[in-house]
Amino acid sequence: MSRTTPMSPAPLVMLVAPLLPIAWQGGAPVYLPQSPAALACFAVSLGALLLRGTVRGSLAEAVLLLAGVVAAFAAPVLLIGQGLALAQAPGVWVHLAGGVLLLWRVLALVAPLDGAGRLAGPALFGLALVALWEILTRGFEVPAVLLPPPSAILAALAANAADLWDDFRQTVLKSVLRGYLIGCGAGFAVAILADRVPALARGLLPLGNLASAIPVVGIAPIMVMWFGFDWQSKAAVIVVMTFFPMLINTLAGLSSAERIQLDLMRSYGAGYWRTLVLLRLPSALPFLFNGLKINSTLALIGAIVAEFFGTPVVGMGFRISTQVARMNLDVVWASIAVAALTGSLLYGALALAERRATSWHPSFRKR
């Protein structure tokens, strides 16, 4: 609504930074003036804050403040690069905290952007998250066997690209896609069946619920036992996992048509299937997409978890479980990154389809 909401003064905490040590070198504290690099970064951050009033337009302000944010993130990176210890140096962390708070403002400024600008928010947020991760793991010297820094993960990603691609083919292209389609299809079909034949529903639904209520970790070994080590058992796990959410959402969606809309169909003497196709399914679409979206992430988890319980020697789950034990956490996280990226793309595609198919729904019409 109003574009000129005032900025919160929180980022000003960084003004404390010059008073505190920004690093330790051989047992002696280092202060801001002693490190030209850190000083320069601090000056840029502060400058961005002070010059804020002089620029016009929210985009210009966002760019200016972003420079300040980048400087705040750069400071610890530079100091680590010089081989200084940061763990007990509050100065640099205060500066960084200021940067994070400043980023919040930037995010608020770019939030209203349209078109390609819509990606700016999540991208900045994600980049900042990754940068923080890098800085914190290295700044506090977290052992790589616990949590490797993103730079190491990236390196592992590049070094193991061929393996990861094979895993992707095995897990996503073979298991996930098939299992997802069958599982969602079955959930949907059974929901319709349960809706159509209430007697059947009374018998089938509790059993369906019961079957779907069995946890993945219990199902996976059984499916491996029944369907063998290859993708079939993974797809079976996914089918069982995705069935229930789809069922529940479809049922909720089918009951979401309004009474007067149903009455209209009745007055036309429209039969069950017509009413279903012309009224109840369209009005169920928001719920259907809800189920599809939740399932898209479940399917991926299901496949990976199932691969923990026995696979041929390929697959994301195989990679993760074996590399964890070998303490190659960087490869583990590289695999996780691939999984996360895949899941997000799948989800994003569904969200896009939803926007297309249900543009009439109030949730897209108006804020």
């Binding site: 995010l107 616990l146 209520a213 946890p215 219990g218 009951s255």
Partner: protein
């Protein structure tokens, strides 16, 4: 219906256990007939698929053979799992609703946070569950909390997704009404968005409460041979005690179904004014 399932089950048991049963019979020498095969397949010590009566007997023994507080009583393990599942579910509801509220109300959050929440769910929990257990363990949290955190991680997401949709589903005219009253964001939330989101919320809660049981069980796996249905599954699996696995599975399914039913009951309680709408 139930009969059909039982028949199918026995048939499946015969089908899956048959080869091994036949082998066992052959091993014991002497000839054998179909009746022997069936008897053998339904009475194996380590069946591929135990028969319903085997599971029922094992369930009965493990439920009644020991006092309820004994670690050999399955009910005790079910209670342990239910405890962490419910704790995780409660935490997940709070987190899920809070995130959804944030996403709907604060534009900055919507565009930047949502994609990352989604990404977080594509991380396989089984991979990070041990890390959570280890890290929380070092911070001095052991026992229930790590498991509850894993439950929460699994169940907040359906709630967030459903609630975001639900909170946005309020009738535009009804929202306009709130605007004319210049209702605060909070009032609009409490008086309009929340009630309008209830159908979505409850659909999500049912999924989430089932997920919370899965989470609790997953949380019990890395901690290994400790109490809970997950531990039973695990040790059953290590020692090839198929019947014990199935008993634990049945109990976990019963637990989930009971929890889902409880959510359903709550739904009927809260969403009494059904849909009527205009005539």
């Amino acid at each position: 219906m139930a009969l059909a399932v039982l028949v199918l089950w026995y048939g499946g048991a015969l089908w899956l256990n048959g080869p091994q049963a036949a082998e066992a019979l052959t091993r014991s020498g002497t000839g054998w007939g179909t009746a022997d095969l069936i008897r053998q397949a339904f009475a194996m010590k380590r069946p591929v698929l135990p028969t319903p009566d085997q599971v029922a007997v094992d369930l009965w023994n493990s439920l009644t053979g020991h006092p309820v507080t004994s670690i050999r009583n399955l009910l005790y393990h079910t209670a342990v799992t239910a405890g962490s599942a419910l704790t995780g579910f409660a935490m997940g509801v709070v987190l899920g609703v809070a995130l959804a509220a944030g996403i709907v109300q604060v534009r900055t959050l919507e565009s930047s946070l949502l994609p990352w929440i989604i990404a977080s769910q594509t991380i396989p929990i089984l991979a990070i569950a041990p890390m959570i257990v280890v890290i929380l363990g070092n911070m001095g949290f052991t026992g229930l909390l790590p498991k509850a955190v894993i439950s929460m991680y699994l169940c907040f997401f359906p709630i967030t997704v459903g609630m975001v949709k639900g909170l946005r589903s309020a009738d535009p005219l009804a929202l306009d009404l709130m605007r004319t009253y210049s209702a605060t964001t909070r009032q609009t939330f409490r008086l309009l968005r929340l009630p309008a989101a209830l159908p979505f919320l409850f659909a999500s809660l049912k999924i989430a409460v089932a997920a919370s049981v899965v989470g609790a069980i997953v949380g019990e796996l890395p901690t290994g041979g400790q109490a809970g249905l997950g531990a039973r599954l695990l040790s059953g699996s290590y020692y090839g005690q198929t019947v014990q696995i199935w008993s634990a599975l049945v109990m976990s399914a019963v637990l989930s179904v009971a929890l889902v039913a409880a959510v359903g009951a709550a739904e009927r309680l809260f969403v009494r004014a059904g849909r009527g709408g205009a005539r």
